[in-house]
Amino acid sequence: MKRLIWGVISLVIAVVAVGLVVFGFSKQQYHAPDGTVAAKSVGMIQYQGKTRDHVVLTFGTYASAQGKYGTMLSVDGAPNVPSGEVHPGGNPQWPAYSPSNQFSVPAGAYVTVVWHQYDSGGAVNNPYFARAHGTVGGTETVNGKTVTGVDGNNMAHTFTVRPAPGTASGFFLSVPSPVSKLGDNATNTAGGQVVTFSFIAGAKGLYAWNCEFPCGLGIGGFGAVMSSYGYMSGYLHVV
């Protein structure tokens, strides 16, 4: 009898523990982590008959995450100091997104991205990623000129975003950037190309982004920097 009582008690404890875990997860609030760069609000915009928040997100891609080729410069020319520990370790010659690999935008907003691209590049393995997908109008601009893609043999990186698995939202964004004007002699400070594009942010949640240009080493160019979290990969927090 005593044994039975203890059996029932342990069963109750187990059920309560599992219940608490499930309850905890269901109450979990979504937060973007520290060091996340938030898009700046610039007012409202009309798009497809709907008034939306208009926000601008600015980032750059640089030839060296650790300043080997000069200080990474932001859009307005000020030093672009990475916020948070997003590029720890690695090789000073590795390229990186900066000032962060964590970006946040409001759900449903009209997001305009300004991308300063300073890195070298080469030929992409899959031409699909030399074209813009999921942007407003299916286009991007390169130094002010509207295009549907870039030269797949002279491209640098892509900003490719997809939602967490299991969300059937269909959100997909992939935008390529051309190589630095200095080509293989790219630095962090000169020869930059300015890429802009707009997209409509999806529903609240975590979206993963990565670069689909094989800019690393090893098999398929996806080793080293591409396989080290934080340089060519991160998260877009839709809040």
Partner: protein
């Protein structure tokens, strides 16, 4: 045989084990209670197999997925009595023959080395189960690749960490997998970098995407609906995000989807509706 010798040993043990000798005449032997448990557990297993399989597996959108579901249900039913026997003996042993602190452990039972009936049933039943499972599995597997005249060919490219799909002859390339219902789909699968696993889950097929050469798999979608395309080979940093949207639509919807993605009406219709 040495049955006489074993009976004496059993009795010696029985005296020391609570519940073996002190029950009424009908419940004298624990095997009876264990049998009741086995029947209960088996009934639960069969019920779970029949009612839960559809709820925990991806939906059925092709004849291949139907056979995957049937296989899971059938194998679970076959496994139910075996699992039930193990759990019944374990549960009964823990409840009845467990011993607390300070109590003496009961002596071990006699070995059953020479019980040829038990051995034969054990071996025979295992053999039959394994052969049935093998034949069923081989049959299900071989039915997956029977070609049909004029299937719809879709080129599948895996790369770290996305899927892209080409619809040959239409010029359409997408990160979405859209297939028409009622036609056989032939997937031509390859990878740009490392090995990935192409797994359109509700279509019930799966094949590796290897760099440098092509693999083929066919599916016969028989219902419209949404599904997910996952990567089933651990492939690096964002393997967990290597996921694409899939849809089974009517051939007419398929054709208009192709047109909305840049195909000409002629090529879309020829590709989506041809070969009827």
């Amino acid at each position: 045989m040495s049955s006489n010798h074993e009976d004496i040993k059993r009795e010696q043990i029985a005296e020391t084990v609570d519940g073996w000798t002190h029950n009424g005449p009908f419940h004298r032997r624990p095997s009876f209670r264990i049998l009741i448990l086995v029947i209960l557990f088996t009934a639960f297993g069969v019920w779970a197999a029949v009612f839960f399989t559809d709820k925990i597996m991806p939906s059925i959108l092709s004849s291949q997925m139907k056979s995957v579901h049937d296989t899971i249900i059938f194998f679970t039913i076959l496994a139910a009595p075996v699992a039930a026997l193990v759990y019944a003996i374990a549960a009964y042993s823990i409840y009845k023959w467990g011993h607390g602190h300070g109590e003496q452990a009961p002596p071990d039972g006699p070995p059953m080395r020479e019980n040829s009936l038990t051995t034969s049933i054990w071996l025979g039943a295992s053999t039959i189960l394994v052969v049935v499972v093998l034949v069923w599995g081989m049959t299900a597997l071989s039915s997956e690749n029977q070609g049909q005249l004029r299937p719809v060919t879709i080129d599948v490219y895996g790369q770290q960490w996305l899927w892209t799909f080409k619809y040959p002859g239409t010029g359409v390339e997408s990160n979405q997998l859209v297939v028409p219902v009622g036609r056989q789909i032939r997937f031509v699968v390859t990878s740009y970098d490392v090995t990935h696993g192409f797994w359109p889950n509700s279509l019930g097929v799966q094949i590796d995407a290897n760099p440098g050469f092509k693999t083929y798999i066919t599916a016969d979608p028989n219902a419209t609906g949404q599904f997910a395309v996952r990567c089933s080979q651990l492939c690096g940093l964002y393997h967990a995000y290597m996921d694409a949207n899939g849809k089974v639509v009517t051939p007419t919807q398929f054709s208009s989807w192709l047109v909305s993605h840049g195909a000409s009406t002629t090529s879309a219709n020829a590709y989506a509706l041809g070969g009827k």
